[in-house]
Symmetry: C2
Subunit: 175 residues, 2 copies
């Protein structure tokens, strides 16, 4: 069996409306989600009640709470639909246990984790080495889909600035 077949066979199609949550920070959710269509936002709420956007998810992206699914803790972030979305949900344990006995599955999992790791390293680089303005310019170049589909508020909280700060950056970039 290959990875795609495993997902097709054991996955459950989930259709969600704009505004619906897939899971919320603090609760438990041990599934992995494959985005078939739509747009989602993964976000943290800090103790002081401030929101920060971890990532936006588009078609073909994969998401799940590792701290809940793998470590057995609670989700460290929430996942909500910004547009009507179509996902395939599969328990992490199903994938994980197939890895134990099935090479193909294990190797697809390794592939997936390598790509995920590189994506996270890229974001680490952007926060460490680039200014908020540079991050905005880069997003403009690399991800116009996100730029045009997301409110300024969400975009700001993804870039690590406030909405007021982003408004100023945009003005500066316009000139």
């Amino acid at each position: 069996m290959n990875f795609t077949e495993l997902i097709e066979t054991n996955g459950k199609i989930v259709n969600k409306k704009k505004g619906d949550h897939i899971f919320v920070q603090g609760s438990s959710n041990t599934s992995i989600y494959f985005i078939k269509s739509g747009l989602l936002k993964a976000y943290y709420i800090t103790e002081e009640g401030k929101e920060f956007v971890k990532s936006f998810l588009l078609t073909n992206d994969v998401i799940g709470s590792l701290s809940s699914a793998y470590k057995g803790e609670s989700c460290s972030f929430s996942l909500v639909c910004l547009e009507d979305s179509n996902l395939v949900e599969i328990p992490f344990s199903v994938i994980y246990s197939h890895c134990k006995t099935d090479h193909l599955i294990a190797n697809s999992m390794i592939e997936l984790l390598l790509n995920f790791s590189m994506k996270k390293e890229k974001r680490e680089f952007e926060f460490l080495c680039m200014s908020a303005e540079d991050r905005y310019r880069k997003l403009e170049m690399d991800s116009p889909r996100i730029l045009e589909s997301v409110t300024q508020n969400d975009l700001a909280r993804y870039l690590g600035v406030t909405p007021v700060g982003l408004s100023r950056i945009k003005k500066r970039v316009r000139l």
Copy 2:
């Protein structure tokens, strides 16, 4: 064969002196390194010539350039010893090809990548949601070994501020 045996059998022991580089940004290096002892620094140099510290590596940590070893590009960062260090070097391709046929190896690799992913997510969270001062306080709590072994310059560039900025943060925290 298990993962540890694979590393013992195919790995090469490498002893490096303080100041020695394991690999440098822009070159090719397709190995993975297991830190047996010592202290290392992984760092980026930007186009403008500024340094930023991606991570510090201690005993039992694992490091390698995914962009070089996995994607076949050049290393996006350099790796240098801050203290005399003892590493085991193994070609990524050796591990990767064993994954194709060996469950145990594949599953150890998955384990390793899951832990790496969670570590990167944690650092992403810290940059996204925490101030430089909070990051300093957290490092003080979580990683005293790093705090006491590393110069203010390197520490600052790890936290995402300048050495002058870190000096001010320390002063503020002292009060």
